[in-house]
Amino acid sequence: MAIAASLTVLPRADGSATFKSGLTTVIASVNGPMEVKSRDELPDKTFIEVNVRPAIGVGGTRERALESLIVSALSPLILRTHHPRTLLQIAVQLVEAEDHSDTTAILPVCLNAAMLALIDAGTPLASVLIATTVFLNVDKEGNSSSKHVVAYAKGGRCVFAESTGSFDEAEFARAVEEGRRECALDAREDVDMDGKETVGMVVRRVIEKKVEADMRWKEL
């Protein structure tokens, strides 16, 4: 599954990123902290607004569900008390997808893109989130008994899990462990990836490149 990411793709947004996994491509942009509408204003925190737009159509229930999942995954990681009475606007645009109706495949790509955009925007964050989908018991035709979208923060802690299908506790634990391996930030941890890059490594590489470019002035 070819994974690619790039930062600062949109010049006018505070932060933006593209995340591509296989045939699914998502662009996310972050604007803020900025002026908030008085009805959304929170006296002690930033108000986070997520907007998901599908590739085809104007968006309905499925997109609202994606929005609420993204908010619940990212809100705890953003240091919201740093900018009270402001708005943080995250916009996610689905560009291409293998199957537009498959939320389980699209959700981790959206989460990763949104997280990269937040980093690109310089939003105060407590941790970086890496997400992936784990398919359990995949048979010859590519069908699996259950699909799990799992996301990990610092130290390999699982902070988000959204599952569909039929599974028991042991299988769920297996999925979480499998996901932790796939999202590991580097190969030095007690994981064993047969040479290929994990999602975490791709994200890390992209951020390192950006920091290197931004800190060029230090070498002068």
């Binding site: 949109l10 010049p11 006018r12 947004a13 045939l23 662009i27 942009s29 604007n31 900025m34 002026e35 509408k37 907007n51 737009r53 590739a55 085809i56 159509g57 104007v58 606007q89 916009a91 645009q93 560009v95 291409e96």
Partner: protein
């Protein structure tokens, strides 16, 4: 929702001073478009247009629908083009929040839908019962001026690129084949309307610029959009208010627009051909692979 920031007097006088000396701030000619890039996706009907820093993606999709009661022999073609929060922070999601958006959507509709660019009769399957509803979704990713121009190019490219599933009618039953069962069919496109926007600046002598950047858009005194195809047929001219322009200058603008439209259309066909070659190469590679199985997907049957 922050409004777009107003341009300062310094910016205004600098821009006007430069124009008076025949210079544009990005050193383009007055009649030059910014660099145009066009990319297609792996799915049919996806076009990504970059006009300078402005970035627009268009996606064409089709689904089966019932024809409108007063047009039983025609299919349906709609374009959805909301500005969205990604393109510009001064916009609220979900509804048209300012006049500019409404004008943009209406001009796109006038230029492409109402100029009969797509042959609606060819979209009819069974008159009065089944037809194709072709839908173009435009997403504005970055707004640096020239949204209408970029949008028209993107929609035109996506329409040309799109392939709809093949259908067959037997008795009263319509069978829709998947993309892998039967070769998908291109849309029947009558002509390709391209929009060219002129920005009018009033100085000692009026001057028009082509393809304004966002800064030039904010500082202009008037604007005019001419939509035409490569055959020199004018589809629509929109000049709503703003600084007035002499009638002779208007004809001059139309001639300038024709040159641009021909250039853009030639470029569009060239990119389509390149994409076609690339796809054929990829298809051949896939079919020669050892583990390639011709997929047998179920068909979609309607009454």
């Amino acid at each position: 929702m922050p409004k777009e920031r107003e341009r300062s007097n310094n910016e205004r006088s600098f821009l006007f001073g430069a124009l008076n000396e025949g210079l544009r701030l990005d050193n383009r000619g007055f009649d030059c478009f910014r660099s145009l890039e066009l990319r297609f996706g792996h799915e049919f009907g996806f076009a990504d247009v970059r006009l300078g820093a402005t970035r627009v993606i268009a996606r064409v999709s089709g689904e089966l629908a019932k024809p409108l009661p007063d047009h039983p022999f025609d299919g349906i073609f709609t374009i959805a083009s909301e500005l969205g929060v990604m393109g510009s922070t001064a916009v609220e999601s979900g509804r048209f929040s300012n006049e500019q958006e409404v004008v943009l959507a209406r001009l796109i509709e006038k230029s492409i839908v109402r100029s009969n660019a797509v042959d609606l009769e060819s979209l009819c399957i069974v008159s009065g019962q089944h037809c194709w509803h072709i839908r173009a979704d435009v997403h504005f990713l970055n707004h640096d001026g020239g949204l209408l121009d970029a949008c028209a190019i993107a929609v035109a490219a996506a329409l040309q690129h799109f392939r709809r599933p093949d259908v067959s009618v037997q008795g009263g039953m319509v069978t829709k084949y998947t993309l892998s069962e039967r070769v998908p069919v291109a849309l029947s496109i009558i002509h390709i309307p391209i929009c060219v926007t002129f920005s009018i600046f009033g100085n000692e002598w009026d001057m028009t610029l082509l393809d304004a950047t966002l800064q030039e858009e904010h500082l202009r005194d008037g604007e005019m959009t001419i939509t035409m195809n490569r055959y020199g047929e004018v589809c629509q001219i929109a000049k709503a208010g703003g600084l007035s322009i002499h009638a002779g200058a208007l004809r001059h603008c139309i001639r300038k627009a024709l040159v641009k439209v021909e250039d853009v259309t030639t470029f569009l066909f060239k990119r389509l051909e390149e994409d076609q070659i690339q796809r054929a190469r990829l298809d051949n590679k896939l079919e020669c692979a050892d583990d390639y199985r011709r997929p047998s997907a179920p068909t979609n049957i309607l009454h």
